[in-house]
């Protein structure tokens, strides 16, 4: 069997072997409940506390500011709901058009419940307009939710600058940092961020674990109401193995932040290699303010799913914002928000690297990709942006 070349790390990541080794005993030997009043459970409670410290350290936060969750979506939901419940008189939410569905679909639901939502637009680089942000903020704004970095394009928002503006209007500031954590340094000390979401499986921990940072002093109302776990901020017996794994993954992520430059070099090699060998190819998003591991490339006149399934033959894993891959009939809302032409939209591929990506793997992609793109372009009836089929067809009928 051929080796898998995994370049879809913004979708999910491989569990680090050290993370797996750290969590496994909690699925076998140490099965106690951390809340129990006996040594057997108590030792598990210590491990949970250690994991909390590890996560807090990665975020530059205090241990008591970390609430473990089940995933990024839960973190996002819990943050927004908490912010609204804590300020019952404020009925306005601000977010952006390019957020993850965990925020966007929640906001749409909240609109039905009587809240007003402003969806900030982005320019062709995926950046918001500060004038629009300021014009949208009012005393009625309960929470502003902006992602740190975009999952599809890797575009990084100027979070602290946004936070400064948000604070002037007294709104809470939530940041979905699921894609940013472990890829760029985060420090909640002296930050304007009140609530921040992270997820384990994007940083080499398993699926089913995440965390929400809640700034000390921010009033919080739990989403899951139950026992006293997480100091009453999230009911439910702790996912101990997951928590231990997230702690270990956070520790490793912090170590690897130092050599994140290696990922950027490989990403740039991939990107430059593609741009220089394949014509009619564009980088989507902001080429400068971008995660070091992500590139989103539009291959004009062909369709993303066909590219992905061709790459799959070589064991290469990537993803696409094309309509056909999403199961919906519209291409990605993020790429549409950037205002990309359709010729680019449908043929956009995201490659996202990790610390496990090797140069040999990048070379292999550069070796096979030109042939794949060539073959599909040979099949395509399009080769320019202004094909007017209807007109052609009318002429064909008239000619007869």
């Amino acid at each position: 069997m051929q080796n898998t070349i995994y370049l879809d790390n913004n979708a999910t990541t491989k569990i680090d072997e050290d993370v797996l080794a750290a969590m496994l005993p909690y699925l076998s030997i140490y099965y106690g409940n951390p809340s129990s009043m006996h040594t057997f459970g108590g030792q598990v409670g210590r491990s949970v506390r250690q994991a909390r410290s590890q996560v807090a350290s990665l975020l530059g936060a205090e241990d008591s500011e970390i609430v473990f969750t089940s995933c990024g979506t839960e973190g996002d939901n819990a943050a927004i709901i908490a912010a609204l419940k804590a300020q019952p008189n404020k009925k306005h939410i601000i977010t952006t058009e390019v957020e993850h569905p965990a925020i966007l679909n929640l906001c749409r639901k909240l609109e039905k419940d009587g809240y007003t939502v402003t969806y900030l637009s982005v320019n062709n680089k995926g950046q918001i307009d500060f004038d629009e942000l300021e014009a949208s903020l009012t005393g009625n704004t309960a929470v502003v939710s902006v992602m740190y970095a975009n999952n599809e394009t890797g575009v990084i928002f100027p979070i602290e600058q946004i936070g400064q503006v948000v604070k002037e209007y007294g709104a809470l500031f939530h940041v979905d940092a699921v894609q940013a954590v472990g890829k760029i340094p985060l420090n909640m000390k002296n930050s304007t961020i009140d609530l921040l979401t992270i997820s384990g499986h994007k940083i080499h921990a398993p699926k089913g674990i995440g965390a929400l940072y809640v700034r000390k002093g921010v009033r919080f109302r739990p989403l899951l109401i139950g026992g006293h776990q997480e100091r009453g901020r999230r009911g439910g017996t702790e996912n101990v193995a997951g928590i231990v794994a997230l702690g270990k993954a956070a520790e490793l992520a912090q170590q690897h932040l130092a050599d994140i430059g290696r990922e950027k070099i490989l990403r740039d090699k991939l990107e430059q290699g593609i741009l220089s060998t394949i014509p009619n190819t564009v980088i989507n998003g902001d080429p400068v303010n971008r995660l070091p591991n992500t590139t989103n490339i539009g291959f004009k006149y062909i369709e993303g799913e066909a590219i992905l399934l061709s790459l799959d033959q070589y064991g290469i894993c990537a993803s696409s914002g094309s309509a056909c891959t999403s199961g919906s009939l519209e291409p990605s809302h993020v790429l549409r928000a950037l205002g990309l032409p359709y010729s680019v939209l449908h043929g956009s591929i995201r490659f996202s690297l990790s610390r496990f990506t090797t140069e040999t793997e990048i070379d292999r992609v550069l070796e096979v990709l030109p042939g794949i793109i060539d073959r599909l372009r040979e099949l395509s009836p399009f080769n320019s942006d202004d094909a007017d089929w209807l007109k052609e067809q009318e002429e064909a009928v008239l000619a007869r």
Partner: protein
Amino acid sequence: MWDYTDKVMEHFHNPRNQGKITEKKEGEEIVTGQVGSIACGDALKLHLKIDEETQTIKDARFQTFGCASAIASSSALTEMLKGRKVEEALKLTNKEIAESLGGLPEEKMHCSVMGQEALEAAIYTYKGIPLDTHEEDEGNLICRCFGITDTKIKRIIRENNLTTAEQVTNYVKAGGGCSSCLPDIDDLLYEVANEKEKSVEVATQVWQNNNPSPTPAESTTQTPRPLTNLQKITLIQKVIDEEIRPILAEDGGDMELFDVEGDVVKVILKGACSGCASSTETLKLAIEATLKEFVSPTLTVESV
């Protein structure tokens, strides 16, 4: 990941008959049918070489912008077309294209529909029938996102026996954008379902109960004095639309009035129920019987 059959993947990786047709001999005609657009996310340009004398498709080639199943559907379609008579080709349904690939995921059925439409567009072009007067463009626009009319949605509902709006979206994309037309699609589904019930009654009347007296022609629609040509054509169209097509739709078939010359009614037969020669003949006779009954006993039907 989609659950594609091996056949879909095989056609995707090794497509047959890709490209254009550039060379033709005397007595051969090259035509093209195009559907979709770069905005929709899939598009197909189907090229046919037709032998004018035998009315046979000598060669079929395709250019496709789209996903794996769009490419596979186009490739399979060209294989099915080679050697077919033009009239037979026109009867090909999207269902047959999908079946030839061992089936398509429901969400990808619109790829097979695209193949059938490109084929229809090519043959209409060949026949010199302007596409904008084609039935589907005359309907009311239902899905504004993808520009799809009620006529087209109803045809696809009939041909594929669809029962939910979700299926309609999977087959023709309608409702897949802003989803504001989903209630309208539900109405169309309801309409077609009612049509079916009604057609069972009509079928019992028309096809089985062939008592000569009183015939519907005498008792209802026929006027005592001879019809003018225009009246006759209008009446024929009405009978086709109201009495014949709903019954054909029961079995996934369809027909269209092509022309009327004197007492000869020329029709285009389409759809699943007319797949083989013998059933075509039966169908022709059945249509003839209905038209004789409702319009005039002197009519004969020709399939063009």
